[in-house]
Symmetry: C2
Subunit: 103 residues, 2 copies
């Protein structure tokens, strides 16, 4: 089945945006990995609920300004943070307990 | 409690990346909303499993090239797609059934 040209054009834009999202996520993950190792070195607590609440509050404002549903944005970032914490947990199993949870 | 400078610097990078992610998500959502309306106008089926599988296969390659865990990338995009479909479902309730599910 042939794809209508306008749909094809929109899909090309979505594909470009997804490629950009993947590269930003890759860079974000590099940063959080370095945070995890740094906190382990400094003996800092793994989780920081105050920081996390600041991140989500800022995100809601940014999303609203960008015309994105703030609830949707918060869910997506919340999901990313949860995955990062989970992945850090896997990494930390080889090092020390509670060393790398910042998201 | 004061934040160590290196941690503070990493957090500033994470905040910048999150702002970029929010804006990309906002633009992606604009595209998928237009796809939803277009498919409704053209009477095309809401879901396209072949397209979705192509998206995820491409994403795995991109993630791997960018040094991002492909499983993590697929989970994040899968989550975004599921949320888009859910949001489209809410929008479609006011229009016609099955009009706007492309993600």
């Amino acid at each position: 089945m042939s794809v209508p040209p306008e749909l094809s054009a929109l899909r090309a834009s979505i594909d470009n945006l997804d490629a950009a999202l993947v590269h930003l996520l890759a860079e974000r993950f590099r940063c959080t990995q370095r945070v995890g190792h740094l906190k382990h070195e400094l003996g800092l607590p793994a989780a920081d609920p105050v920081r996390e609440e600041q991140q989500l509050a800022r995100l809601r404002v940014l999303a609203s300004d960008a015309g994105l549903d703030p609830v949707f944005a918060e869910k997506v970032l919340g999901f990313i943070i949860a995955e990062v914490i989970r992945n850090h947990g896997i990494i930390a199993e080889g090092a020390a307990v509670g060393s790398a949870d910042e998201a």
